[in-house]
């Protein structure tokens, strides 16, 4: 529970929002609740659907890109013979 208590302590010290003319509301407490939910979802996916999309895109691009790099390496390793 230690880190839970420490996170809560930070809320007390956070600047109270006086954001009157500008639009920024302090959404940190909501985020803290969201990311501390005991639902076993890994951190990198815990933010919602956008997390999953970004994760999938990154994985596809890196793994796919690696396969492409190995392909290019294979092509470069066997140069075309000059006629």
């Amino acid at each position: 529970m230690l880190w839970n208590l420490l996170a809560l302590r930070q809320i007390g010290q956070r600047t109270i929002s006086t954001a009157s003319r500008r639009h920024f509301k302090n959404k940190v407490p909501e985020k803290q609740k969201l990311f501390q939910e005991d639902d076993e979802i890994p951190l990198y996916l815990k933010g919602g659907v956008a997390d999953a999309l970004l994760y999938r895109a990154t994985m596809i691009l890196t793994v796919g890109g690696t396969a492409y790099a190995i392909y290019e390496l294979a092509v470069a390793s066997f140069p075309k013979k000059q006629e």
């Binding site: 920024f24 951190l43 990154t58 790099a69």
Partner: protein, 261 residues
Amino acid sequence: MTHQSHAYHMVKPSPWPLTGALSALLMTSGLAMWFHFHSTTLLMLGLLTNTLTMYQWWRDVTRESTYQGHHTPPVQKGLRYGMILFITSEVFFFAGFFWAFYHSSLAPTPQLGGHWPPTGITPLNPLEVPLLNTSVLLASGVSITWAHHSLMENNRNQMIQALLITILLGLYFTLLQASEYFESPFTISDGIYGSTFFVATGFHGLHVIIGSTFLTICFIRQLMFHFTSKHHFGFEAAAWYWHFVDVVWLFLYVSIYWWGS
């Protein structure tokens, strides 16, 4: 549900070290493809996946700290050591380029004409744009200190203003330096003078861009109420990095621009 009985942060498994490593492979093999086969596909893919990795990895660090509270005082201490060690490694990185510059400029070879700057090189006037650049970075060092004190004194609006000024000064430096590069009478291929000048100032410029990016992230986080007056290590790390960038410039200015002309 079990809980830890210590104050340290046992990080959960993450895919970003893997994607980061793969993006490094794509960037390096991409460079080879560009240099030898005139194709930029792999390189672009590498840069994109590298950016995606950095974004998600550091987003997760913010989640672990600001949202989950894992950055206890001992954890923060470790992060401080880490940032200091990283900046120290960067100091050694730049030391190499300064070594190269002094090696060639302290004992100029007969091929260069036996003097420095070498024959045929018209160096930039250190009292023109380079001096302006010096004042811009020094001023940004003042404004970032103002931002820090405002943050510690819970002065939200002043902190935002001062940090914005710092970022704008950084951008101004970058634009000025870019224009200097464009207008310069000598290029990177103009012998050892060109090589040492553009490699040293070029890497410095890259670090200014990195530092400006780090500061911009801090700016966004400040707008989102992430920092408290007592706990804002991300900002401190950015400030340390920024001061380091400033100090490197001072060495560049004195050694290459001033003494080297």
